[in-house]
């Protein structure tokens, strides 16, 4: 397995980096500020963990899926899953983005001793992502709500290890869930064990940090309280009311690495959570593994969550949306690979990808 210098050439110096932060864990050569992640000094180590955990280095994703989703029916559009529900908290909490499900799952995991700590992204500021380790239910509150700026939060894994956390719940974007699985899949034999319960988020893309500067420039003096992307565009809630931004304006700030992403629903997570598009105040929850099932069951047992069957037509819409992300992503990957701008991190010649590439050549990407 190659090391840091190859990671720099293939991922960091190209536009492929997903900013998951997995490489930052453990390594003194890699460093980030905001969404700039670089190899700050040349690394002399030949075989690096950084390369082996990166979701943007070549991976046999089918094999990874086979290991962690063994026995779970595979869906080509939204990944292996047992069941899909629509879910919400019965008593909403402050700052929840949709149904408040993620916060509830984390509280359940901690309270039920399924984990010793949780890694979440939050901060006092609803725009700035700041990863932190929480050990108590109350600490989870300040992470409530979505952050649309990318954050390499997996760099905190090492802190979890140092603090002696053996079982950790991680809330992450699809790329981060991929990295978490690769961390385990390629784990060196001498590496300390870390048992991760992954709660994957639905993600279309994340934004580069200059978006913050754009907002500050466009709405000088305002305090930003919340950001959401309902059907009709982008809404930024400020202390002077809601500001509407066009999707095109916001999309100009999409991180380049996100355009290569093939995963909308965190297909490798134990449990995935996203918005429920037709009705505000609800989440879509995809139960994938047995641990994901156990977590949702525990959360529902306390009468905190309301769990309902998922409408069949809505599942189709979800599949379509997820499939379309794959179409766009593969098209972008193929183009960048053809132009020698990135090194492929999926086997483009494998049959499922070949089919989607064929389909994508007929469609417009963003």
């Amino acid at each position: 397995m190659p090391g840091g210098m190859q990671l720099k050439t293939e991922v960091l110096a190209t536009s492929a980096c997903a900013l998951c932060g997995a490489c930052l864990d453990w390594c003194p050569y890699l460093k980030n500020i905001e969404d700039h992640l670089v190899l700050r000094f040349d690394c002399p180590v030949e075989h690096g963990r950084c390369y082996s955990v990166c979701p943007r280095t070549l991976t046999d994703w089918q094999a990874v899926n086979g290991r962690y989703m063994a026995g779970v029916p595979f869906d080509p559009d939204i990944g292996s899953f047992q069941a899909v529900y629509r879910v919400r908290r019965l008593q909403p909490i402050n700052d929840q983005q949709d149904g408040g499900t993620v916060s509830t799952l984390l509280q359940t995991a901690l309270a039920g001793k399924m984990v010793d700590g949780v890694l979440v992204t939050g901060s006092g500021d609803p725009l700035t992502p700041q990863p932190y380790l929480a050990h108590h239910e109350e600490e989870i509150r300040k992470a409530a709500g979505s952050r649309f700026l990318a954050s390499p939060s997996l760099r905190k894994i090492i802190e979890a290890r140092e603090k002696g956390i053996e079982k950790l719940a991680v809330v992450g974007r699809p790329c981060q869930v991929q990295a978490l699985r690769k961390m385990d899949y390629n784990k060196p034999s001498d590496s300390p064990a870390l048992d991760v319960l992954s709660i994957g988020l639905f993600c279309m893309w994340s934004l580069a940090w200059p978006f913050k500067d754009y907002l500050a420039r466009t709405y000088p003096g305002l305090t930003f309280l919340r950001m959401a992307i309902p059907q009709h565009g982008v809404e930024v809630t400020t202390d002077e009311g809601i500001k509407q931004l066009s999707l095109e304006t916001v999309q100009a700030y999409i991180r380049p690495g996100c355009r290569f992403c093939l995963d909308m629903t965190s297909e490798l997570a134990d449990i995935s959570v996203g918005a429920f598009e037709p009705e505000a105040g609800w989440n879509t929850v995809i139960v994938r593994t047995e641990r994901g099932r156990e977590l949702l069951d525990k959360a529902s047992a306390g009468d905190v969550l309301q769990i309902e069957e998922y409408p069949a037509d809505e599942l189709e819409r979800l599949r379509r949306a997820s499939h379309n992300k794959k179409v766009r992503g593969l098209k972008n990957i193929k183009q960048a690979v053809d132009e020698q701008k990135i090194t492929p991190f999926v086997d483009l010649s494998s049959s499922p990808y070949q089919e989607i590439i064929a389909e994508s050549s007929a469609k417009e990407g963003y």
Binding site: G3, W26, C27, P28, Y29, K31, N32, I33, H36, L37, V38, R40, F41, D42, C43, P44, V45, H47, G48, R49, C50, I158, E162, P188
Partner: protein, 632 residues
Amino acid sequence: MEWMVTAKEPGKTFLMQGNEAIVRGALEAGIRFAAAYPGSPSSEILTMLGHVAEEMDLHAEWSTNENCAFQACMGASMGKIRSLCVVKQNGLLTMGDALHTAALSGCWGGVVLLVADDPNAHSSTNEFDSRHQARAAGIPLLEPATFQEAKDMIVYAFELSEKLQQVVMVRSVTRICHGRGNVTLGELPSQPSQPKPIGEWDKLIAINWFHDLLWAKLDQAQAAFEDSSFNWYTGPEQPELLIITSGTGWLYSVEAVDTLKLDDRVGILKLGTTWPLPERLLLKYLEKSPRVLVVEEVDPFLEHNVASIIGHNPGLNIQLYGRHKKSALPQSFELNPDVVINALASVMNVTYQAPQTGEVPAEAVVTIPNRDLTFCAGCPHRASFFLLKQTLRIHEGNGVVMGDIGCYTMGGNRAGHFLLQSIGCMGAGINMGEGLGQLSRFGFGQPVVALAGDSTFFHSCLPGLVNARYHDSNMLFVILDNSATAMTGFQPHPGIPVNCMGKPANAVSIEKVVEGIGCPVAVADPYDIEATTQLVYDLIKKPGMKVLILRQPCATLAVRSKGRRKVWVDPELCRGDECGCGRFCSKTWGCPGNIWNYQTGKAQIDEVVCIGCGVCASLCPAGAIKVEGGQA
């Protein structure tokens, strides 16, 4: 060794360093004022004068720069007391205009300008030959060839200066300044001289009307030099070859003639007064020899001036050899006896076999690895360069870093991750940064950073800072404040509350100066790499002229006052060569205190050099480096 320079033992001979001999000469001449800016190889001179200032009842100062130093001497000269200005070759150029105007106005009390040149640039960026400046300005020039002359010439230079009412330059070189030899002392004055009143119509004005007077003073000097005891000839009556030499070239020439056993064929004319040249004396020997070899440091200064005399005297038919066009000697770099012996052998067409050193037994051969110039253990500059480099790499669009002159110039090497992209003279960094920073209006998008040390800041950055602020250049000026002129040996500067005489001084606050100019200024600790990296990142994103002071005292000084904390490596935690480290502390951080134990394959602290700053502990990814009492 201050007791030697003030010893009241005339006639007694001491083994003295050249710089000590110069100090002794100045004291024998009765100076009451001395000013300098530190620079190797001259730095010891004013340090010693500062130490004996009280005993000898004189004023000594490390001036803010050489211009201040020289013009302060000119001011003291108006009070008709003797003053000594000490600079190195770069400093002489800093005060170029001051020298040329002073040569026009002349002086009253004796003013001697001691310039210490650095052939081979052992401690310099260049090996500029200062003698050109004496000729260009039109002032007399003396060059000592021995340690005795280093003392005696200073005494003579003051006498000459007062006789001519003109500044006199004495040009030394590293081998004279830092070498040692026998010096027989003269008398110290029994009473210090007293300043004299200046009349209403007494003026010291530089104006071109005095240009002819300047030449007349040179003629007077030339007349005096014809009979100077600093010039002498040794050798046969009619030499086949005449060596004309000055300064350290003299001893090399003597050794060359002796080694090649040519004393009956080659004569040596040793000159101590090299501008204006004693033409009559020269002609006397030029007429006797058809071939002439000039041996001097560094440029063919003497050679060209001799060539000029030959050109003006059509009766002479001489083949001239020297450094000009490498006709006998190399055009650049320092001479040594071997180079001169080989040149003489070649010119005289004799064979020379260097003595065989014999076989070196295999067990005596030690392989010494190449060693970089680097920062000392615990040096705050190492942390500053580390954090600046990483910040510029993290920031989009490579930053451009302008260097300057000081210890931190070494940051252009591996020690500073090759950060610097320009190195010029003192003060060049901020000025070049100002210019490049203006290009942002044409779409130049890279951050521009200029560096300067605290002493350099006072020396030559103030006009540049005003300029950059006034024109609002898009740049970050970083002042690496280690509270010392560390490169040259910790001399005080205007930011330090004690002067060179050990007396309290009104220290000038760098941040107040910067604020006064109107620049936004931040102060940060370079040892706190994480926080300061973020600060630099935020600063370079802001438009306009910004100033950051990275403040942490020079580690070599700090350890003397604060003592050292123990630092050690827990081998259980150290990841060594493994992924997640790869010897990050000893290879990348690179502090001499961080070493590698080849037996255990783990990092180690060299307790002899470690000063306990603890920065490596904050960088160790495994937390394996421990600091007594916890991290800094």
